[in-house]
């Protein structure tokens, strides 16, 4: 215990309090202020009535004097915003589960079945992760059109796995590797089939990995923009990021209040999910680059 404490504290006891204020807390608070300010500004703007929004001389812009829900009301009842939210949830959940299923099978095959050439397949999966959507969206658009999926949810549910599967597989390979091989050998001796081993032994042990991969994949599909912008054209089929930027901007008149409210409402579900699973999220973020 004493050794552990010493290791945790390291040499921090050498730094005096005033010194820590200057070298640690001051720069850290500047970082946190800059990183959080856009969110504060977004929130303040979405609750300001228009008269305060465009009058900086009578009202301090950094504060709301008469908070109002008019922008959120307009968003929910006068635009397609609710259907964008529903589309985004549906598409994110469907593509996440599809990718998880594919990735579990693939990662188990690469890591545990070790079929001939599995090392090369693992390498290909990593390379696939490096292919950016920016160079795929044009050919994908022509394919989506030929398959008759243009302007439908399927166009996104089937294309999002192209960046989710490589990531999830790579992450789950790391988790499967950490599960002792002996457990599977015992099950094999007891007469379990490969499928039984995967479902009854490997998967329950890899649940933290599954949650990490799932949370990360969900936020990635929630954030996706370029495919949704290219493959969807009618307003009621759009996702939140695309809907906010294409439908709420009307000509040269920007309704900043409802734009900010749209951005705020679109961020809240992801942030709530993230706040429940911070540790899983961080471990998937760091796990993906550690290998």
């Amino acid at each position: 215990m004493a050794a552990k404490t010493a290791q945790l504290e390291g040499m921090d006891y050498l730094a005096s309090t005033p010194r820590r204020v200057v070298t640690l807390w001051l720069p850290l608070s500047i970082f946190i202020f800059v990183l959080l300010f856009p969110f504060y500004w977004m929130t303040v703007t979405s609750f300001k009535p228009d008269i305060e929004l465009y009058d900086y001389s009578h009202y301090n812009p950094l504060w709301v004097v008469h908070p109002t829900l008019q922008h959120i009301y307009k968003l929910l009842f006068e635009t397609d915003y609710p259907s964008w939210i529903m589309n985004t949830i549906l598409i994110s959940v469907a593509s996440t589960f599809l990718s998880l299923f594919c990735s579990v099978c693939a990662a188990y095959a690469i890591e545990r079945l070790r079929f001939t050439g599995s090392a090369y397949v693992g390498m290909c999966i990593f390379l696939a992760y490096l292919v950016p959507p920016s160079i795929l969206f044009i050919p994908l658009a022509t394919m989506v059109f030929q398959f008759g999926m243009f302007d439908s949810d399927w166009a996104l549910i089937l294309t999002y796995p192209t960046f989710l599967i490589p990531f999830c597989t790579w992450l789950l390979m790391g988790y499967f590797r950490s599960i002792p091989y002996e457990l599977e050998e015992c099950a094999l001796i007891d007469g379990a089939s490969r499928l039984q081993i995967l479902i009854k032994i490997t998967l329950p042990l890899a649940i933290p990995g599954l949650i990490s991969a799932g949370i990360f994949a969900f936020t990635l599909s929630w954030n996706e923009f370029i495919y949704a912008l290219t493959f969807i054209s009618s307003s009621e089929n759009k996702t939140v990021p695309v809907g906010v930027i294409t439908e709420l901007v009307e000509g040269d008149v920007y309704h900043w209040g409802s734009l900010m409210a749209g951005a705020l409402l679109g961020s809240v579900p992801v942030v709530i999910l993230y706040s429940f699973f911070v540790e899983h999220y961080v471990s998937s973020l760091t796990g993906a680059v550690k290998e």
Partner: protein, 316 residues
């Protein structure tokens, strides 16, 4: 149940054997398990990659007309001043943003590696800009950079540092620095949190030993932290460079490539030509022009990833 098994075994022993082989042969089973992932990736990733390379050699329009024109797109692009400007913009955007993201991200990681109260909460807060959808935070930046109602201009006016509002997005260079700043804001958390994970694996005893030998804080950073961290730095920076180079969302939301194409990146220009303008072939050619740059970044990562022998106690 037992009887049934008995009878199947009796009547069709060969079938049973064949089935057992399928489920016990690693290669066949591996193929079955790989099938869902492989078919999706081959159909929606490998095939479009090839299709994109082909489209870059055609003058296909969005209505389906057009055919093979060889290197025609690249020849006309080489004389296209907007395309050349977009290469310059992309390189400037990538180099400047990546260097600052790395420097500030590493600094933030070193700060977060200190012992302090509420450490987990602070780390969770720091990662927020990375979690929130880029497009939505980019809209907030668009509003922060507004010509008439920019909060930055307002604060600087209050303090008396400037005497009229800054035209953030109206002037070419202002606009370039503004989008670079937004990209840095978005990227710092990723760099900081991943580097922090690397920092946490460095045993404190190394620092203690160095301090006893009289090393200054700078020497401890330069001779312990940086060398031990170098493999993870290589990977993190490759990802960072890759995502910055192919960035689309920030530019599309904040400036749409304007003013006067000053902030057009290759990705936004290819979208504009291919989808908005309908010239699929030309857009694909612009997208393909990004590939050589990406290959350089990936090769850099590959050689950076190789763990050095001395990190396992051997000699280089």
């Amino acid at each position: 149940m037992a009887v049934q098994t008995q009878s199947t075994r009796a009547t069709a022993p060969i079938l049973k054997l064949a089935r057992a082989n399928v489920w016990e042969s690693r290669n066949l089973l591996g193929l079955v398990f790989m099938l869902p992932a492989a078919s999706l990736l081959l159909l929606f990733l490998t095939y479009p990659l090839g299709l994109g390379l082909w489209l870059g050699l055609t003058d296909q329009k969005i209505d389906g007309t057009g055919g093979f024109i060889g290197l025609g797109n690249f020849i006309s692009l080489a004389r296209d001043s907007v395309f050349l400007l977009s290469i310059f913009n992309t390189l400037l955007y990538t180099v400047v943003a990546s260097i600052i993201k790395f420097a500030l991200g590493l600094y933030l990681a070193l700060l977060l590696n200190n012992r302090m109260p509420f450490k987990a909460m602070i780390r969770a807060i720091v990662l927020l800009p990375f979690v929130v959808p880029t497009v939505l935070s980019a809209i907030a930046f668009w509003w922060i950079y507004d010509a008439q109602f920019s909060i930055i201009s307002w604060v600087l006016m209050k303090w008396g540092w400037i005497d009229r509002y800054i035209d953030f997005l109206g002037q070419p260079w202002n606009a370039r620095w503004s989008v670079i700043a937004a990209n840095i804001w978005r990227g710092i958390p990723f760099v900081a949190i991943t580097l922090l994970a690397g920092l946490q694996t460095i045993p404190p005893s190394l620092y203690e030993a160095a301090t006893l030998d009289g090393a200054t804080p700078w020497q401890r950073f330069w001779y312990i932290t940086l060398p031990v961290l170098s493999p993870i730095i290589a990977v993190v920076m490759t990802f960072s460079v890759l995502f910055t180079f192919t960035d689309f969302q920030l530019i599309y939301v904040i400036t749409r490539g304007g003013p006067l194409n000053a902030t057009h990146l290759m990705a936004t220009l290819s979208f504009q030509r291919a989808i908005t303008g309908g010239q699929l072939g030309e857009g694909a050619a612009i997208a393909n022009a990004m590939i050589p740059f990406l290959l350089v970044a990936i090769l850099f990562s590959y050689f950076g990833l190789q763990r050095r022998k001395w990190q396992h106690g051997g000699r280089d």
